[in-house]
């Protein structure tokens, strides 16, 4: 049997707009149905299948309950891959963002080398606040307008919307990393970027 995808586990269409309450109820229901405690007295094959189902239900719920994780899963699914590695088409963050982040990392590296005085701290804190706001806006877009665009897209339109979703996820990933770098620097943790990333 083909393994069900996570949307299918909950009998959902491959859409991003999911009623969180309904999803939770369905999760509880399926969890109970396949819970190992309720499989006593059944054949070993049936117990093994229940265990597999139970694991699938848990994984599906983890992937779908959070709206952003849901987008990440949708993208992986659309590309036919189960892991984060091996993206078919590389996502592209806007070049301006890459340039901005590069400059910010340069400033940060210089500030680290020269010691973080109060002025520099204040400057970096302002930058960080700005990026945190931008991250929130990007996440709102992923959960809001882009999700709606996916759900209402015609099949012909889907590749374009999917690409937009991927790019937005890339932007979010960059923003999160650089915000982490700034936070580490501001909180005085000596974290060499080379080490905390991997």
């Amino acid at each position: 049997m083909r393994r069900m995808n996570y949307f299918e586990v909950f009998c959902l269409d491959r859409k991003l707009g999911i009623d969180a309450q309904a999803l939770q109820s369905r999760f509880y229901e399926l969890s109970r149905r396949w819970h190992p405690d309720f499989q006593q007295g059944r054949t070993p094959e049936a117990q093994a299948e229940a265990l597999e189902r139970s694991a699938l239900v848990n994984a599906a719920y983890r992937a779908l309950r959070d709206p952003i994780a849901r987008v990440e899963y949708l993208v992986r699914l659309a590309e036919g891959r189960d892991t984060k590695g091996g993206a078919v088409v590389k996502p592209k963050a806007p070049p301006e963002l890459l340039e901005e982040i590069f400059e910010l990392l340069e400033t940060l590296a210089e500030a680290r080398a020269g010691g973080l005085d109060d002025d520099r701290r204040a400057e970096l804190a302002v930058e960080r606040d700005r990026l945190v706001k931008r991250l929130a806006a990007e996440e709102d877009r992923l959960k809001g307008s882009l999700a709606t665009a996916w759900d209402s897209a015609t099949p012909a339109d889907r590749p374009r919307v999917l690409a937009a979703l991927k790019d937005a996820l890339a932007v979010r990933a960059y923003l999160r990393t650089v915000i982490d770098d700034l936070t580490n620097a501001l909180e005085g943790q000596e974290s060499d970027a080379a080490h905390h990333r991997h």
Binding site: G85, L98, F102, V171, D180, H195, R197, H198
Partner: protein, 140 residues
């Protein structure tokens, strides 16, 4: 994770760190990133507009040791090559030279992308003119 000696060497003594002015004659800039790990890599080549040979290359990378080593090695390999010779550098060459483990292959891919982006930028800015003309227009 155990890095190979060559990675450690490039990481501790990165070659050709720095930058050229983006609009300097003969300079091509590639700025690429890997969103999943947050690495950002800038690689620049400086081409002699009369000979088409890459005279100098510089990089600056914010990322892990393998990403730094990959781009450092790339700049070493680029120097002295023509633009066409530079285009054949493959990420697998970098993997072999630095003995990168499978989980670090994406760092070498990033370096190859940076080389391609720098070459493309060079061609856009300077490659449409014959080398001598480009030199003349650059100095005028």
């Amino acid at each position: 994770m155990a890095y190979s000696d060559k990675v450690v060497d490039h990481y501790n003594n990165p070659r050709n760190v720095g930058s050229f002015g983006k609009d300097t004659p003969g300079v091509g800039t590639g700025l690429v990133g890997a969103p999943e790990c947050g690495d950002v890599m800038k690689l620049q080549i400086k081409v002699n507009l009369e000979t088409g040979v890459i005279e100098d290359a510089k990089f600056k990378t914010f990322g892990c040791g393998s990403a730094i080593a990959s781009s450092s090695l790339a700049t070493e390999w680029l120097k002295g090559r023509t633009v066409d010779e530079a285009a054949v550098i493959k990420n697998t060459d970098i993997v072999t030279e630095l003995k990168l483990p499978p989980v670090k292959i994406h760092c070498s891919v990033l370096a190859e992308d940076a080389i391609k982006a720098a070459l493309a930028d060079y061609k856009t800015k300077w490659g449409t003119q014959a080398p001598a003309e480009a030199a003349a227009s650059a100095s005028s």
